[in-house]
Structure formats: C-alpha cells, structure tokens
C-alpha cells in the first residue's frame, strides 16, 4: 500500500512522497524556493513566515501564485 498523500495545487492533483510535509517542503519540492510567491491553503493565506510550521493534510487545496504582467 502506498504512502504519501494527494493534494490539489493550482487546480492540479499532486501526489506527495510523504505524509509529513510542510508548505516549506512543498515549495522546495516544487523548486520555488527563493521565488516571490504567495500561498493560499483551503481558502486561507499561509504567511511566508509560517511555511515551515504549516503541515499539509491530504486533499488540501492550495493556490500558489506570483505576479505577472497585466493591466
């Protein structure tokens, strides 16, 4: 039986290797470290200062965004 868990990131299902992952770990996993991003988890903002503290749960719904050109 497989370990890890599935979450929804930016509308796409993502299988995580472990069941114990923080937002920080996810960001590293996604190679977004150092990028200027913001994260919403299940409708609430996750402050960057809390990335290391917030544990992801199965079926979490995350939005990870950045700034792009727009008018």
């Amino acid at each position: 039986m497989k370990s890890g868990m599935q979450i929804l990131v930016n509308g796409k299902a993502m299988q995580l290797p472990s069941e114990a992952m923080t937002v920080m770990a996810l960001v590293e996993h996604m190679q977004l470290t150092g990028k200027r991003i913001a994260v919403e988890r299940n409708g609430d903002i996750v402050p960057r200062s809390q990335f290391h503290a917030v544990q992801l749960q199965g079926n979490d719904k995350l939005e990870i965004v950045g700034a792009v050109g727009g008018g």
Partner: protein, 260 residues
C-alpha cells in the same frame, strides 16, 4: 510649481499609470515603462506554472518593486470572492502591500465592470485595510458609493478595456470629477495621446493605460507620447483654457493701423 498626485497619502510626480501586460518581452516592457515616466505599474496575480524552469526571469526582475509602486489588480475576476482572494494573495506576495486595483468584470465579451460585485468586494477589502483604487463604470452614483465605502481612488472607464475608443462620455466623467473628493483616474479605453490629454483636461487626477502603449506599432515611442500628453493635458487644465465661441471670431492681430 509642485503638482503632485496624492493617492492614499503618498505623492507621485507622474499622473500616468501603466499596465505591464501584452508587451513583446520584458525588455520592451521595461523600456516602455521607463519612457512613460510612470511610478505606478499594475501587475496581475496568476498561478505559478508548476514545474516551470526555476531560473527563467520574471517581471519583477525587470521592474524591481524597490523602483516602482506596484498596483496588483484583479483582472479576470468575475466575482467579489475571487477578487478578494486574489488581492489577499497579492498583499502577502508583496509583503503586506495594501495599494491595489480592484476590478470585477461582468462579461468576457465587453469586460464591462460588474458594479454590484465591485461594491461588495470594495466593502470587504476596505474593512481589511486595503487601499482600494477601483475600476468602475462612468455611473456617478456608483462612483459616489465607492467613495463612501472608503476607496482611495475611483477609476471610471473611458471606453471598453482594450478598445482604444477614447472617452465616449466626457459628461459623466465631468459629473464624477466635480463631486468626488478622492482622485478620479480614467482607466481603460484610451487609445492615443489626445485621448489622454482630453481626460486630463476634464480634470482627471491621472490616467491608467496598457493596450494603448503595448499595442502601438512602436510601444516605447508611444509611451513617451503618453507621458507628454498627460502632462500637456494637466497643464492645459491648470492654465485655464480660453472660452469657446462659435461666433464673433476675434482676430489675433490689431484691427487698426491697416494700410489703406
């Protein structure tokens, strides 16, 4: 003569706000922004591309937040809820940045604002401490309601987003400007330099544009034209134009002393 634009207590020399979308590349974006002399640039908030190359340059590399005042917008949002969530993300993204552009659209074909959803979003955002510059229609009553809610600037459209049709109803803008106590900026619809000058001559505090510059044959040259047009229109407004009179045209040369 100091004639600063003051928004939410902060002063700006330039009265031209420029969007950062639709340019050929970031280099052209930066060149146009520089030519425009703008101090406030709008940006959109979008999902990061999962698995994108982590090293590819981003808009922020070309327009460092240290050099410009960012104005994150809610372009593409069709509900108050989406707009609110988008701006909460923007605020976090830009280190508790509070100055934002709220726009809630009503229709993907016209991109005309949905003023009822806009009002609903504005109420929540103002309560949460955002400094809301709000894109709206040229409805003077809605503009007044948005001011009463506590928005820091109302930004009625001149014409549809991306249309370049210019100022379709200067009379409504005039009514809004004469009654508003907060800055009124024309947002959307400006297509050429004279459109921007007309907006400023009506008494607008500023003009926000993107397509007029980005979709010009030569965006950088047009950006410079817009800078001059906004300044020209502002000075023309402040200088107090001559009265219009269809009749009894008056000569600029003396009517006496003619040879006979």
């Amino acid at each position: 003569m100091s004639d600063a634009l003051v928004i939410a207590g902060k002063s700006y020399e330039s009265r031209l706000l420029v969007g950062t979308g639709k340019y050929k590349d970031f280099a052209e974006t930066r060149a146009a922004i520089d030519a425009s002399g703008t101090e406030i640039v709008t940006v959109a908030i979008r999902r990061t591309n999962i698995g994108q190359n982590a090293n590819e340059p981003s808009l922020l590399d070309y327009l460092p937040p240290a050099e410009f005042t960012y104005l994150p917008n809610t372009a593409g949002c069709y509900s108050a809820d989406d707009a609110i969530r988008t701006l909460r993300l923007a605020r976090e993204l830009l280190d508790d940045h509070r100055l934002v552009k709220l726009e809630v659209l009503g229709d993907p074909n016209t991109l005309y604002p949905n003023v009822t959803e806009t009002i609903a979003a504005a109420k929540v955002l103002v309560k949460e401490g955002f400094e809301v510059m709000v894109y709206t229609s040229d409805d003077p009553i809605i503009a007044r309601q948005l001011e009463e809610i506590g928005c820091v600037a109302v930004m009625p459209l001149a014409s549809l987003i991306g249309s370049g049709m210019g100022i379709l109803n200067p009379w409504n803008l005039q009514i809004i400007i004469e009654s508003a106590k907060i800055p009124v900026l024309v947002d959307a619809g400006v297509g050429c330099a004279s459109d921007a000058a007309i907006a400023m001559e009506l008494g607008c505090a500023g003009v926000l544009m993107n397509t007029a510059i980005a979709a010009a044959r030569d965006p950088v040259l047009m950006a410079g034209a817009m800078k001059k047009a906004v300044e020209a229109g502002r000075e023309s407004f402040l200088a107090g134009r001559m009265a219009k009179k269809l009749y009894s045209a008056s000569p600029s040369s003396p009517t006496t002393g003619m040879i006979g």
